[in-house]
Every structure is written in structure tokens, then in C-alpha cells.
């Protein structure tokens, strides 16, 4: 890869991955969306509005924080946390919903729909819909509604209708199916804000571009604070939007290693996990070709993770491509290891991470001690852990 990285191609392919695998009724809307996105991507007025919203509404730039105590304790690399947990609504998801909502407004759409797993994307969508005065419907698997009730309440407070999806495994993939069914029915007035770098083209590229502010800021902040580029980037990967947001601006910096951390659930060897890049195989789901968790007949199998946001059988197609080309590496962390990461960051640095981000923290705990004290790891702290208090308390047998 000596040439500058330039993916996807114009039909949304990252090598064999990505693409536009949708029913005919959705072809026109995704083509219209792509045209609008290409147009506004280079529109100074749009960019200025987006930048202003990110600064004054979201609170960007988010800090790059040197976790000195934790680094010292682990005895290896210097760990820097990219503090996406400090964004308005508490996670990186709003970087994308702000951008897509501005597009929706310019395209004249009056109704917003979204899918959500942990509820962070749902909250971020309900938030921007409230601000723009748009109708908002959020699809959420019934299992996730039960385990993330706090976020359900937040979405309702913000004026969104939350639809509990009872089909299939009742988790994120089923919420996505239901949102696609809504979209195909209401294409004329409805904008579908997908929350991760999956779905049909242009979503994987568009969501990446809106999330790439994470990596652009982190790169500049690292140069300013440490005087050089990092050695390694670490981020959790469900659909993979925070990871691609951090990785993308570094892809042509060949010295920077990139590591995506998937959810191993009870352990990849048990089959109860959400790690398609580590243990799945390529297939087509939700509009794109990517690594999937499926059986020999091509039926999607149920996933498992303590974190609702990583509980998804697919992964963004660009991650599939980065894996195959070797530019990024993908590892996995079990539920129990993630809990160790959760507690370590909470007690060492006074920062309570989301369970999703805790997977990245747990891998950092393994990696940092193997590196030297003058090396640098940037870890994406993609969200804060407030939403997970119930899950944590229940897991540890505490009644709130």
C-alpha cells in the first residue's frame, strides 16, 4: 500500500466488501442520499454549520488525556485516552447523528428513524431530532430495551417514539431489520440515520467521514502534546464506527499500528460471542458484504456480549478490508476481561467507561506492559459508563 488510501470505490466497495445489497425500493433513496452526501461534503456552508455544531453543541474538540497513573501502574507504554465520553450525550455517536441530521434537513426530510443497541445512538439521534424539531422513531430490540431502560427513558424524554422489536433475537440486528422495513415503507419523507459504519453504500463511508473527526483531532493533539505520532491505536469494534473514526486519518501513517477489539462474550471458543472478524466469515447482511456470524446454511446466528452496543453479528465492511489487507489487526476480549478493564479505569483514573469502551481498555491492559515507556497508545474512550450502572450492579449482585 504505497499509494494513498482511497476507499471505497464509487459503488461503495472496499475490495470484495461493502456494496449496495438492498431491495429495489431502497435503491433510489440510497442513490439520492449518496448524491446529497457527495454534494455537501465539499460545501463550505454545510461544513461550517457542521463544525459550529460540533464545537458549540457537542463540545468538541474532545480532550486527549494522558492517563499517567494507569500507564505507570501497567509499567509500559504511555496511554492516552481520546475522551469521546465527554461529548454531549456521552458517546461518539453524536458526531455522526449531527452530520446526518444536517443532511436530512437539507434534503427536506421531516421524519428521522434509527436503530439502536445500547441506546447511545438512539439517544444521539433523538437529541438531534429534538433540536431540529423532526419526528423521530427509534427501533430497539426488546432484549436491549430491558437491559438499557435508562436510555429508553432518555429517548422518550427527548420526544422520540421507541419501538421494541420482538422479532428474531430481539437485539441490534433485528432493530436494523425493522428500521429498514420502516424506511422502505416511508421512503418519501423519512431519513434513516444509521449509527454505525455498516449498511448499504454510502453509509459506511459517510458515517466514517463524520466520525473521522476523532482521529483528526487525536493526531493533532498527539503531535502537540507528545511531539510525535502514536505507535498504536486501540478501539472497540461492534459495527466499528468509533474505531474507524480513530483509524481512518492514520491509515496512510504506516508506522501507526491499529487494533480493533471485538467482544468475545463468554469466549470465542464457546460460540457465545460477537466477534465476526475473529471468528466469522464473509457474507451479506444489511446491505453490505462483510464478515458475519452465520451457520453453514448462511443463517445469521445469535450473538452474545455483555455490552449491547457490541452485540451485532456483522461489522463495517471497511474493517473487513483492513483486516484482509493486514493494515489493521483484530483481537477479542471476553465479558469478564471487559469488566476488569471497566474497574481498572474507574479506580485508576476516576473515569467510568461504557462497557463497549471497556473492551478497548481491557486489551490496552494486556498490550501496554509489552511496550516500552516511550511508546504511545491512543485508546478511544468511546462512551461513558453511566448507562451501564444497572447492568454492572446486577452482575455484581448489588441492588440499586
Amino acid at each position: 500500500m504505497t499509494e494513498k488510501y482511497n476507499m471505497p470505490d464509487e459503488r461503495g466497495h472496499f475490495g470484495p466488501y461493502g456494496g449496495m445489497f438492498v431491495a429495489e425500493t431502497l435503491m433510489l433513496p440510497i442513490q439520492e442520499l449518496n448524491a446529497a452526501y457527495q454534494q455537501y461534503l465539499d460545501d463550505p456552508e454545510f461544513i461550517a454549520e457542521l463544525d459550529a455544531d460540533l464545537k458549540y453543541y457537542v463540545g468538541r474538540p474532545s480532550p486527549l488525556y494522558h492517563a499517567e497513573r494507569w500507564s505507570r501502574e501497567l509499567g509500559g507504554a504511555q496511554i492516552y485516552l481520546k475522551r469521546e465520553d465527554l461529548n454531549h450525550t456521552g458517546a461518539h455517536k453524536i458526531n455522526n447523528t449531527i452530520g446526518q441530521a444536517l443532511l436530512a434537513k437539507r434534503m427536506g426530510k421531516t421524519r428521522i428513524i434509527a436503530e439502536t443497541g445500547a441506546g447511545q445512538h438512539g439517544v444521539a439521534t433523538a437529541t438531534v431530532a429534538a433540536r431540529l424539531g423532526l419526528e423521530c422513531v427509534v427501533y430497539m430490540g426488546a432484549v436491549d430495551v430491558a437491559r438499557q431502560s435508562l436510555n429508553v427513558y432518555r429517548m422518550k424524554l427527548l420526544g422520540a417514539t421507541v419501538v421494541a422489536v420482538e422479532s428474531g433475537s430481539k437485539t441490534l440486528k433485528d432493530a436494523l431489520n425493522e428500521a429498514l422495513r420502516d424506511w422502505v415503507t416511508n421512503v418519501d419523507n423519512t431519513f434513516y440515520i444509521i449509527g454505525t459504519v455498516a449498511g448499504p453504500h454510502p453509509y459506511p463511508a459517510m458515517v466514517r467521514d463524520f466520525q473521522a473527526i476523532i482521529g483528526r483531532e487525536a493526531k493533532q493533539q498527539c503531535l502537540d502534546q507528545a511531539g510525535r505520532l502514536p505507535d498504536t491505536l486501540v478501539a472497540c469494534v461492534g459495527g466499528g464506527s468509533n474505531a474507524i473514526g480513530l483509524f481512518y486519518p492514520f491509515i496512510d501513517d504506516r508506522s501507526v499500528k491499529m487494533i480493533g477489539v471485538e467482544a468475545a462474550g463468554d469466549g470465542v471458543e464457546t460460540g457465545r460471542h460477537s466477534a465476526p472478524l475473529c471468528a466469522g466469515r464473509p457474507g451479506v447482511l444489511h446491505g453490505n458484504r462483510t464478515y458475519l456470524m452465520e451457520d453453514d446454511d448462511g443463517e445469521i446466528i445469535e450473538t452474545h456480549s455483555i455490552s449491547a452496543g457490541l452485540d451485532y453479528p456483522g461489522v463495517g465492511p471497511e474493517h473487513a478490508w483492513l483486516k484482509d489487507t493486514g493494515r489493521a489487526h483484530y483481537v477479542n476480549i471476553t465479558d469478564n476481561e471487559a469488566l476488569e478493564g471497566f474497574h481498572a479505569l474507574t479506580r485508576m483514573e476516576g473515569i467510568i467507561p461504557a462497557l463497549e469502551s471497556s473492551h478497548a481498555m481491557a486489551y490496552t491492559m494486556k498490550l501496554a506492559p509489552t511496550m516500552s515507556k516511550d511508546e504511545i497508545i491512543i485508546v478511544c474512550l468511546s462512551g461513558r459508563g453511566d448507562k451501564d450502572m444497572q447492568t454492572m450492579a446486577q452482575r455484581e449482585g448489588i441492588e440499586l
Binding site: 459503488r11 456494496g19 449496495m20 445489497f21 438492498v22 431491495a23 429495489e24 425500493t25 435503491m27 433510489l28 433513496p29 422479532s167 428474531g168 440486528k173 433485528d174 431489520n177 429498514l180 422495513r181 422502505v184 415503507t185 416511508n186 421512503v187 418519501d188 464473509p282 457474507g283 451479506v284 447482511l285 444489511h286 446491505g287 458484504r289 458475519l292 452465520e294 453453514d296 446454511d297 448462511g298 443463517e299 445469521i300 446466528i301
Partner: protein, 267 residues
Amino acid sequence: MSRLAATFEALAKSGRKALVPFITAGDPRPDFTLPMMHAMVEAGVDVIELGVPFSDPMADGPVIQRASERALEHKMSLRRTLAIAAEFRKTNQHTPVVLMGYVNPIEAMGYEDFANAAQRADIDGVLTVDLPPEEAEECAALLKARDIDPIFLLAPNSGDERIKKMDAVGSGYLYYVSLKGVTGAGHLNTADVETKLKQIRANTRLPIAIGFGVKDAQTAKAVADLGDGAVIGSALISKIEANLDDPERAKKEIVELLAAMRQAMDS
């Protein structure tokens, strides 16, 4: 000439329209499907669309979703669906069978292995909901090389260029989705369908089967008058769902509904 082309040509010559039922293979049980196919032929259908169950049927409404779930509970799969079709062909050489489903089970088998298996089962057409022409080149070429028709969908928002594209890559017939929505949804607007059919006819000479929103004899006749065939799915599967403890009764009710449609369409 493919069995589908021959069927539509013969119908056109006699001034009749195709009655095209859709059922999900293996719903409610694997042993129900083969006798149901034969019974539908006796009721006067011209083409059978056999649904391949998939875990994530994104374009389907609740009725066909639940049909998929029931079939998957009995471990129905693409391979077993092909086996049922092959069995059907042993005693019926004239009724075209079209597989309808999603692309992932085909990807899992591999495009070439699938094309070979479909040829061995004497499948006539393959309609893959989430494989638009942009992504279908490889699979469609493999099917065409084996005289299997790749069948594509047209939607209310498909413009002239797309209709021409479907005409170029598709064969057998084109399936016009009469409304924006999922299967089994909404209310058929025949005036809209009539307007759209004029645009479609101007861009293709392939037969047009019309589906989504066909519920009874009246709607079947209405769309058949406008196109070359009526596709009926959710209304049949509702009969299965209403009689899960009595599949024979489901079969009887389906046959009655199809016979009524046949009569209305031929009158």
C-alpha cells in the same frame, strides 16, 4: 426457450394471465411443502415462487417473517429447499419453480455451487431480494449459463434507466412491487399501478408479474388485468398461520382461495 418464457408465451396466446403463489419452503413443517405445491398446481397456478427461509428477512412483513421463523425451527435451508424442488420436478415437468429469498444463503453455498445445485434441481428462476443488478453480475451470469432466469424486482420509484437495466440483466419475468413497503402491507392502488405499468411496458418486453397487496380474487384480477401475472404470498401464508394445528385445513383454504383467484382472473 426457458420453461418460464414458454409459460408466459402460452398464457399470452390464450389471453390469460399467470397466477403465481408464494409459499415459504418448510412452513409450517418440511413435509407440508411438496403436497402443497402439487395441490396449488391442481388449483390452477402457473408458476410457483418457493421462498427460501432466512434469519433476517428485511423486506418482508410480519406474516412472511413468521413463516421464515417456523421453517427455520425445522432446520429448513437452501439445500433442503432445492431438494423439495427436485422432488416436485419428478412428477411435474411443466410448472416453473422460482426460488425467492435473500442472498446470504446463496453466498454461504458459493455462487457456482448454488448455480449447479439449482440446475440439478431443475429450478427455473431465482429472485434474490437484496441482490440488485449492481451486485448481481457474477451470480446472474452463472444462472443464465445454465438456462435459469435471474428475476429482478421493480418498485414504484424505479425510473426509466433502472427499468432498462432490469430488462437487460433480467429474464423470465420482472416482478413489480406494487407499493412502497414490505410484503403483506398496505392497500393496493390500481390507478397508480396502471400508470406505472405504462412506463414499465415502454422500457421492457419482459412479462410483468405484480405482487404486494394482492389479497383476494378481486385484487388478483385487478393486477392481472394490468400486468401479465399476479403474485400472492402473505394472504396464503396467513391461511397456514391460522391453521397451525391443522395443516390439511390450511391446504384446503389455500386451494380454495387460489381457485377463486383463477376463476376471477379468467372471467
